[in-house]
């Protein structure tokens, strides 16, 4: 998209808003903090688009998103967060049984709790990979680190998550 023309901030909000929100929610575990982060990111995008030079738009956007998140963390000075159960209204419409829904919500809560216990470096790489769906290359661009670092963090992050959870293997 960015190679064809520079999008407007409304385009960014419409196309990437939901991804940014999910990234923010999984990183913060809190819908209010996630909403604040989305607003902050969109504000930064709006200001930054005038000086944006066409290139890897995704890399540029996720770098802004990550920086906004880190700034927010610094500002809040690690305000305690608690995992927020996934509200039924926010779930993608499917028709599972009540037991499945309950198990899914519990699993989501467990994973979300475990995510929040990961070191920030690992957490952001895992979320960018598994929630946002970026490649290692794109994540490396977003966090301004080598691809090897990204690979290592994702591996160690997932391994730590697996150890934090208590599923039967």
């Amino acid at each position: 998209m960015a190679d064809e023309r520079t999008p407007t901030w409304e385009d960014v909000a419409r196309i990437y808003g939901r991804k940014i929100y999910n990234f923010a929610y999984r990183l913060t575990g809190n819908p209010d903090d996630a909403a604040d982060l989305v607003q902050d990111v969109l504000l930064r995008v709006r200001k930054g688009l005038s000086s944006y030079t066409p290139g890897s738009f995704d890399g540029w956007l996720w770098r802004i998103t990550r920086n906004a998140f880190l700034d927010g963390v610094r500002k809040r000075n690690r305000r305690p967060t608690s995992p927020f159960p996934d509200d039924d209204r926010t779930l993608i419409a499917t028709s599972p049984s009540p037991d499945e829904v309950l198990a899914s919500v519990r699993l989501s809560e467990d994973i979300q709790s475990a995510l929040l216990k990961l070191p920030l470096d690992f957490r952001e790489c895992v979320v960018l990979c598994d929630v946002v769906g970026l490649t290692y290359e794109e994540i490396a661009e977003a966090i301004e680190s080598p691809v090897g670092t990204v690979r290592s963090r994702i591996h160690r992050g997932r391994k730590m998550l697996r150890e934090l959870l208590t599923w039967p293997v």
């Binding site: 909000a13 808003g17 929630v131 998550l161």
Partner: protein, 205 residues
């Protein structure tokens, strides 16, 4: 090649994650495949990591609160989307928008139904009376044109023939005396001249 020792000491553990994500570098696939064929510990690790990755990827994808988005909907872009007339950015926007906006998804469905219904309408023949009427009008129009054309042709031929056959009119036929007399009489009255009409009796001195 960056590798991380697993707790059991294998140096290929990190490759398992890269393998699951299809992010191996050239040459690494052979290494991991060979290792997994002989290391039961890493096979177990492979299953654990695969399970963890799958669980992360099935986390519910949350809706973004509407208040965070610009207050706009695709509107007429929905029809253009159905007709394949959007550029890439617009297309991406519509796809992304209808993914979460129930109203627009419903509107798109209705537009699609209407579009399909219109396009499936049969091509109708006009009613018979209209066909007959049209044929009659065409016939009348043609016959009128033929009559006019024939009349014009006949008139033209007749005019040419008449001009060729009839003798020229003699100039003597044109008697100018009465006109001349009237003219002379008017001049004599208006200006008091002594012009006397030719027909008046002449008095001899």
């Amino acid at each position: 090649m960056a590798r991380v020792k697993s707790s059991e000491g294998c140096e290929t553990a990190e490759l398992i994650t890269a393998y699951l994500d299809a992010e191996l570098r050239p040459g690494e696939l052979d290494v991991i495949v060979e290792h997994l064929s002989e290391c039961r510990v890493c096979i177990q690790e492979f299953h654990r990591l695969k399970e963890m990755r799958a669980a992360l990827r099935t986390l519910p994808y949350l809706e973004i609160p509407e208040r965070l988005l610009p207050d706009t909907h695709p509107g007429e872009q929905l029809s253009a989307y159905l007709d394949g007339q959007l550029d890439t950015a617009e297309h991406d926007f519509v796809i992304s928008h209808i993914d979460f906006c129930t109203d627009c998804r419903l509107e798109l469905h209705e537009l699609d139904s209407a579009r399909t219904a219109i396009r499936s309408l049969p091509g109708l023949e006009p009613p018979e009376f209209m066909t007959i009427q049209r044929e009659r009008v065409q016939k009348e129009r043609w016959s009128r044109r033929r009559v006019i054309a024939a009349a014009v042709g006949i008139a033209g031929v007749a005019a040419v023939g008449f001009s060729l056959l009839s003798p020229p009119r003699p100039v003597a036929d044109l008697d100018i005396n009465p006109l001349f007399d009237q003219h002379q009489a008017r001049l004599s009255v208006e200006y008091g001249s002594n012009v006397v009409p030719v027909v008046a009796p002449v008095e001899l001195p």
